[in-house]
Symmetry: C2
Subunit: 205 residues, 2 copies
């Protein structure tokens, strides 16, 4: 029996809160977990089956009209496994940031492309940040959201994600202001070198 993945434990975590059909599980993952553990909806459909194989979940088949469905629930062994997992070592975070990759190679394009990229980075982060604002408004209106007893852990995560997106937006503002003075994307190393050195000195501390 293959070792369970972090994705499996994420699904097991949701199952610890209540029973779900695979469809609901996939949607809930997208809504509430995707920001820290993004996985394609398609793959999430395979996870509950693995949990059943491991003895951490049970499947209950029924139907709505003539359409069949499967509802999953966690087992006591599943709860123990989840708790054990919470005490194991974590892998460091991984960031996949195509926009910043473009910035790193921006000297191979023109200044307009660089500044467009920075603006798109800002807009995308702004949109993500906006989603959290809507989510927070919903939670305030619904007096804690779907799981008010979990408000405390959700608030810890919310604080991080909000600051994360705000940080991207403010980096973008800074980058737009700095690149305004660049003659072009390729030769700014010379004219802008005092500012670049300031960044390095700050980073080196």
């Amino acid at each position: 029996m293959a070792e369970l993945s972090t994705t499996s434990y994420a699904v097991l975590g949701l199952l610890s809160l209540r029973d779900w059909t695979t469809y609901e599980l996939a949607k809930q993952m997208q809504r509430t977990i995707d920001f820290v553990w993004p996985r394609g909806e398609r793959k999430l459909y395979d996870e509950p089956k693995r949990l059943v194989d491991a003895g951490f979940a049970r499947a209950r088949r029924d139907s709505v009209g003539r359409r069949p469905r499967t509802t999953y629930s966690i087992t006591p062994a599943g709860r123990r496994a989840l708790k054990r997992w919470l005490g194991t070592e974590i892998t460091p975070p991984k960031l996949e940031f195509e926009g910043m990759l473009r910035v790193l190679f921006a000297d191979q394009g023109d200044l307009g492309q660089l500044r467009t990229t920075i603006e798109r980075i800002s807009e995308q982060a702004g949109t993500a940040r906006e989603q959290f604002a809507v989510m927070a408004q919903g939670m305030l209106a619904a007096d804690g959201g779907d799981f008010p007893q979990r408000l405390h852990v959700n608030a810890l995560g919310m604080r991080f994600m909000i600051d994360h997106y705000d940080h991207i937006v403010s980096w973008a503002s800074w980058a737009m202001k700095e690149t305004e003075r660049w003659p072009d994307s390729r030769h700014a190393a010379a004219t802008w070198s005092h500012r670049a050195r300031a960044v390095l000195i700050d980073a080196a501390t």
Copy 2:
């Protein structure tokens, strides 16, 4: 011929700077690109071949003693393709953060596990941040690093990454301070609700 991936373009970007063997390319990717575009070293070995197939790179085979090696260089078509790519739409950043996932399900474990997780998050981010400090010191000492003419774009990236890791560390400090008052990991939603609401109100603006 299959569409090239972002990983392909990242490698093409390095090839635009100078010629490399696949081995050097893989190492350079790890050193300078991994923070924004992490890929397993193994897979990076396949990329130059795809670039050759697409007509964006040329391979030159020679040997060091009796050991053969292949050095890749970019073609004019490769430079044009890289430039075109720099003008296309970017996909939003993706964050994979197992530590934060654990925080979101921390109510299923005990408070000790949560606080250990937060401490490990802080330590890991501190270590990553430290790597950038060393890198920045190296660049200052070597008067711009391996590619001094690219100092300006590297400084933009460096500013972002430094602030990113600093943000994680400061989130962790905040979280340690807040969880100090929690009675346990499960029932803090009640006693801590005024602080949680403050986070939501802040997020909702």
